[in-house]
């Protein structure tokens, strides 16, 4: 009764409280998604510009300093302003309350503040494009002394804004993270035990925990960087009479940076694990194994950070140790990938667009994971470090977990956001063309990396040794431009379907988890006059004795409030 009154109250809340300063988790999820997609497009266009420059350096589209700035901002934006808001902000906000049968997050006001802090950080990082000297150009990892000394890059305000924007973005994700962890533990519907939580909820919880447990040292490190740059301290800088430790930044950055890789990887794996059982009409294979091995990988991710620093002057003995932990960490992901594959095995697959996106993400992630083994071995890394091989490797991982699983998630949960379905045909064309173009762009980069193409060079024309591969690099540039242009299909599909897509029923995919029991789109506070009650495990497809004549059993049902 009271909830109904609250829902009516919400309708009277006015435009600003409904669409701008909303505390509703679904609206905040949409805000995060749109903000993230904007930066994905923007970061993609930056890549388009610098790859165009690389294809024809003699045209001087960019000067070398500007080229570095664009490469830096592409990395920064894609990790911190695309992956983080979408994989945590969007996935977490949209799925957690709906899937666990809650009416909203545990702290709705904190949730709203989280998004608006993120929005301010977006404004700050965008402002860095318009200050004198341009945006930061020292690489997205901001290694000292390049980042701490203005004279080396000629960028002054760009780095200040970069650091402040990053600190604000971390604050926003921390606020969101508290919600993502607390909500599943305290607001679950009756019957929703921890081992009945859908896998994507587990993944967002684990990712948020990893983030909270790793980001502190980098926040401290970022302030030390600002001190070095603006106050003249010597935390990282070394001069004739002052001592500092440039490696300290790398330690602080990668102690955060490697767990961060899993922060933006495992929610993506969670989405794939949601879609695979529904597409194969089979229960998820090894539900508990996936959860426990992910937790194991999360713990281990705090002990591998120095594999980013093998040639930074690390003690070889330490390098061996980190090499071993790095190779061990591939075991959990092998288990997860095998479990996903066994979910598909023998299933009667439904090739809808969401499944195509998820399947392509799965395939691409496997290649990314396998090439990581080569980089994790110290011996191979000496040759491959800082080359296009590394670039190809992490794009294979991150494009799968961030970009493709975002497409999959948007396609999948579009009805719960807008009450409509995205166009299947356009989505399929987009999925297939993206998959092929992505491989055409990044597979040659493995070869280029072996050949000795070092990252972050504005032109390779002056290196005679590499001239034999110049055609391949140009080929990559052309395919890369096409890959970015194809993404406009998604932009078109997104906005077109939002306005004119087919109206969705409550459960268009015949999926089991709780969000499909709510109407599409769910009202404010999600469940109206009913109370969700959970009776089963999350993925009961193809039951032996179907209770309702369908080939799936919904995880729970809605009880009417008296």
């Amino acid at each position: 009764m009271a909830a109904h009154a609250a829902a009516v109250h919400h309708a009277e809340m006015g435009w600003i409280r409904t669409y701008i300063f909303s505390t509703d988790h679904k609206m905040i999820a949409k805000q995060y998604l749109l903000n993230g997609l904007f930066f994905a497009l923007f970061g993609g266009i930056i890549a388009l510009v610098f790859r165009s420059h690389l294809a024809m350096p003699e045209q001087e589209l960019l000067n070398p300093a500007r080229y570095n700035a664009y490469v830096t901002m592409h990395g920064t934006l894609m990790i911190f302003w695309v992956a983080m808001p979408i994989l945590l902000g969007f996935f977490g906000n949209l799925t957690i309350p709906l899937m666990i049968g809650a009416r909203d997050m545990a702290f709705p006001l904190l949730n709203m503040m989280s998004y608006w802090t993120f929005f301010i950080s977006s404004v700050v990082i965008m402002a860095s494009f318009f200050v004198p000297g341009g945006p930061f150009s020292g690489g997205w990892t901001a290694y000292a002394p390049l980042s701490a000394n203005t004279e080396l890059t000629g960028v002054n305000w760009g780095i200040n804004l970069w650091a402040v924007g990053l600190a604000l973005e971390f604050t926003a994700v921390l606020m969101g993270g508290i919600n993502f962890i607390v909500t599943p533990f305290v607001l679950r519907a009756r019957g929703m035990s921890l081992m009945r939580l859908p896998i994507v909820v587990w993944m967002v919880v684990i990712a948020s925990l990893l983030f909270m447990m790793s980001v502190g040292p980098l926040i401290a490190g970022t302030f030390m960087l600002l001190f070095d740059k603006n106050v003249g301290t010597h935390f990282y800088l070394v001069s004739a009479d002052k001592v500092g430790d440039p490696l300290l930044w790398q330690h602080l950055f990668w102690f955060f940076g490697h767990p961060e890789v899993y922060v933006i990887l495992i929610p993506g794996l969670g989405v794939i694990s949601e879609i695979f059982p529904a597409a194969a009409r089979k229960p998820l294979h090894g539900y508990k194994h996936i959860i426990f091995w992910t937790i194991f990988a999360g713990i281990l991710s705090f002990m591998v950070w120095a594999h980013h620093m093998f040639i930074a002057g690390l003690n070889p003995l330490a390098a061996v140790g980190f090499s071993i932990t790095t190779i061990i960490i591939s075991v959990p992901f092998l288990v997860i990938v095998v479990a996903m594959g066994l979910t598909l095995w023998g299933g009667s697959l439904r090739f809808n667009a969401a499944f195509l996106y998820a399947f392509f993400a799965y395939v691409i992630f496997i290649v990314g994971g396998l090439t990581g083994l080569q980089l994790g071995a110290t011996v191979a890394d000496i040759q491959l470090h800082e080359t296009y091989f590394v670039v190809a490797h992490f794009h294979y991982v991150i494009f799968a977990s961030v970009i493709l699983s975002t497409f999959a998630a948007v396609q999948w949960w579009f009805p719960k956001m807008f009450g409509r379905l995205m166009n299947e045909g356009v989505a399929k064309v987009h999925a297939i063309s993206t998959f092929f173009l992505f491989n055409i762009v990044f597979t040659p980069m493995f070869i280029l990396g072996f050949a000795g193409y070092t990252r972050r060079y504005a032109s390779y024309d002056h290196i005679p040794l590499l001239q034999g591969y110049a055609w391949l690099n140009d080929f990559v540039s052309i395919a890369g431009v096409l890959l970015i242009l194809v993404q406009f299909l998604f932009v078109f599909n997104f906005f077109y379907s939002m306005i004119a897509g087919k109206r969705a029923t409550a459960n268009p995919w015949e999926a089991t988890t709780m969000e499909w029991s709510a109407p599409s789109p769910p009202p404010h506070l999600n469940w109206g006059d009913t109370i969700p009650v959970v009776e089963r495990d999350p993925y009961e497809y193809a039951p032996e004795v179907p209770s309702n004549g369908a080939d799936y059993e919904p995880q729970g049902r809605l009880m009417t409030m008296r």
Binding site: A6, G101, V186, R188, I219, A220, V231
Partner: protein, 194 residues
Amino acid sequence: MAHAQAHSLEHVEPTNIGPPKLGMWLFLSGEVVLFGGVIMTIVLFRISFPGWKEASEHTNPIIGSVNTFNLLTSSMLVALAHKMSATGNHGLSKLCILGCLAFGILFLVLKWAIEWPVEIMKGYTIHEGPFWQLYYAATGLHAVHVLIGLIAFTVILILYMGKWRPNFTLEATALYWHFVDIVWLFLWPLFYLS
């Protein structure tokens, strides 16, 4: 908003820790990692660079130790304030918060108005090598945390003077205050007693 929270709580499975408390512990665990990074940096610099011991002899261990006493006492008082307000003894509880504020302000006055200016006048600025830059950065970060805690207690005390009665807010701020206290117990030996 308050509405939404109340309704989402109505089908909570019984847990022995409420959402705000769990959230507060998570926030504090993030803070632990933040100061963990700072303390790790202190240890690293101490091992890597000579001259740490000589530099640390120029700090003022008396002020450092008095400040330790200040923080520990205010921590005790805030624990008492929580206990008093839980048993309905509101007058004493307000007095304890006032005492906690007084000791906290004393800490900041000693730190920012006496200790730092004296050291800077002696020439030990933030530019004087690894010890001093970490000294100012780490104790400064800690002092900012103290300041935030004091602001929170002031707001609580003002509200408390009126009709408002402390609920979880006082306990959460007390948790934070104990955390700030514990951080100081690490910084104190690292800078003053080495």
